[in-house]
Amino acid sequence: MGEGVGGLLQGTLDLLVLRVLSIEPMHGWGIGERIAQRSHEVLQVNQGSLYPALQRLRRQGWIRAEWRRSEHNRRARYYSLTPAGERRLEAEMGAWRRSSRAVDQVLGWGEGPREVGA
């Protein structure tokens, strides 16, 4: 994908979006901001990917959209999780944890007690 720092893996953006929306309904800009804040500005979501991702998730039936008043009393499109989206998030998070632990283990190879002669 080549989007964001380090190039978010395909599907990772979806996971992050779902996670953000599981806290509270949010509009597109806010979602990007939340991801940046939580990652201490490491993950910068490319807007060119975010909106298509939202459309895709909506089409999958995991999120829904509705117009609300924003904090500045301006009309904004808020996205929120559907029940299916919640289930999806849980499953995705489980999968992510498993694979990230696996990757960690591979990356941490040799950092334990040093092998003789290494």
């Binding site: 490319n46 807007q47 089409r59």
Partner: protein, 876 residues
Amino acid sequence: MRAWWAVRAWLEALIFRRREDEALDEEVAFHLEMETRKLMARGMDPAEARRRARIRFGGEDRMKERAREARGSEWLPDLVRDLRLGGRFLRRTPAFTLTTFLTLALGIGATTAMFTLVDTVLIRPLPYAESHQLVDVREVGEDGSALLASYANFSDWRARSGSFSGLAAVVPPRPATLLVGATGVRASLTQVSADFFDVAGVRPLAGRVLDAGDHASGAPVVAVVSHAFWSGPLGAPTDLDGVVVSDGRTPVPVVGVMPPSFDLPQGAEVWISLDREVPWNVRGNHVVEVVGRMVAGADPASASTDLTRVHEGLGATYPDVETVAVRVEGLKSRLVSSTARPLALLLAASGVLLLVACANAGGAFLARGVARRAELAVRTSLGAGRGRLLRQLTAETALLGGAAAVGGLVVARGILAAVRGLVGAGVPRLAEVGLDLRVALVGAGVGLATGLVFGMAPALRLTAGEGATLLRTGARGGDAPGMRRLWRGLLVAEVALSLVLLAGAGLLARSMGAIADRELGYRPEGVVTARFHLPQGRYEGYEAVAAGLERFVAELEADPRIDDAGVGLMLPVAGGGDIAGPVGRDGGERTEALLSYRVADPGWFETLEIPLVAGRLFGPDDGSEGDHVAVVDESMARLLWPGQDPVGRRFEPGGMDPWPDRSLTVVGVVGDVRSWDEEWGGRPTYYVSSRQRPAFLSFFGGELVVRGRSPGAAAGALRETIRRLDPAMPVTVRTLDERLARSVGQRRLAATVFGAFAGLALLLASVGIYGLVSWTAGRRRREMGVRVALGASPRAVRVGLQGEVLGAVAAGATLGLLLALVLGRALGSLLFGVGAADPVALAGAAACLVGAAWAASWLPARKSASTDPATVLRLE
């Protein structure tokens, strides 16, 4: 739940496409505003903040495009756009478009037409209730041949068999003249026994069918008429009360009208009772068709066994039962049995033609695609994905395939009309044939499948590879990877399939030739025949019939336009029910073999030029008073009196003769006469005198035959004489050649249609080859130019170009020959006098194809080779 949200999102996206676009615009505006606000909060001045926000956001249009794609709303407008674009491309290359369209339309049309035929004739059930229970019942002779039943046997079966809920006898329809008011109308009249309409299980559209009262002995005649007769000659009266037809003597009330789909027996227009006057209760008189409705649980095999058992019982009781078994066959399979194989074959042939058309269209698409590679390459480098390009190419093929499907339906209509004209009544159920929704759907399906087959392979091939490669090779005009191989493969397939069709057509044509060359034993050329039926009531008594017919012949012979004239029954064309059964020899035991029985006058032999071998023909003294005499053919003479002089010997005719035990004296021997149809071919035959057996001609009608200097004049004289002597007599005047041609109608249909398909395949293959060579030549013009510039002769260049293609043709032809050898066997009984591996047909087909291929490749190759090298090199 999830599905609901998903569907809702998609529907909104699709229906409120504009609204979704506006929503996205608003979201983007909101996003930019928030971003600007954030930057301003960090102390940036508003203009700079807005600029930064916009930069950070990135390419807005590209994002929107991707968002739309993610919504899944774009396929419809995309499709419209693709189709519009495709249409524009197709218009830009009219030669390509037209050729491909015609090619595919022909293939689809042929297949659709043949499918329609097969569907109507073979697949659809007969339009009667529980039609699988309906059967046709025939007697089987000692030699295994099937015969119509005799009425006496039929009534005993009906009384003694438990396999049927009903059995009915039908006298095959014969033409009759009926008076409607004062107008004489030709109608096909049939007599049916009680229960006939119950067996068929069809209720009348109006009025009633024949009931027990109508079938009582001596009851007044009433008629049930077909829908066509009711709506045509009768003028579609709403009230049948008082509607009568007349046979010239008594008025016959019309009591009922059958529905349009009712066609039993085939072609019947007027049904009257058979039982009220059973004509000839002789067991050797095979004149009725028997239809039955089996009880639930019975099948034709068990019913055959049951009826054969009953029939054997009859044989034990009545010595004149000369058949040995009964055969029960499903009515539908009986109706279509002889047609099934030719039709299935033609469907297969049309399928092969369609494949050839697909291969050709595929080649054309490939060639055009190559020409468009530069364009495709540019589009790829500008960011069009492979999926997008594929969709674009598919839209074009779909457009062309759809148009071709429509064109194909038009072609199919034409083919069906032609087939109907070609065979007329020769194929059962043909009247039911019509294009309907089912067929249209099949045609459209075939068109779509065709589009995918011919369109996708080239499209996949064309769009394979990276944009850069595409751009490089496309711009330079090089070949795409594997493209030549693909095209070569298409060509090989096309040639092989065309050869199969050509070989099949060759075999069928050779069969037709063998049939035409067959020694018939008489001379049909120039003979005109009139099939007649004597109007009821005009000729009282058999003496009057004999005298009337003699007068006809005498008047005809007196006409200067006619040289010879005769009268008789059973021309040696297919379809006569003229089996006589075994005869007794000199008062002794009866022969095993069935013989053919014919009625003739001396003029019959003279007109048909059947040679007299020994003795004499019937003479003026062979009247009703004297000895009953017969003329036998050489086969019969050999069978009964091997090595002896048959003239003067006596035999008992048996079977269907009115005097089965009265000896006939042989007065002459004539040459054997053969029919074109093997089934009726080589039976030993004897002729009885029309003057001594007028009863036959009175009951069955007969044939007047004449030979004149020109068939046209003779036919005219024949018609005039008949009109003068008896205007009420229904006749059908045709040349004997025409009759013979009709008797081989199905064979001819198969040969003609197969031939037409083969011709089309050859044409398509030639077009394909021409295209391939032109294309190759165009691709390699530079190379050719260089070679010619370096001193290669144009001839060498041409030969090189042609050689490559002809190599593929040779490979295809070899493959085709092998296929033809295997598939030729499927032609089976359609072949006559040639083997399935007939070398003349196969070699001829191969020569034809290779010749066409050479010619098709020579033209473009020569053109390419003779171009001035300087021009070519300058061009590049």
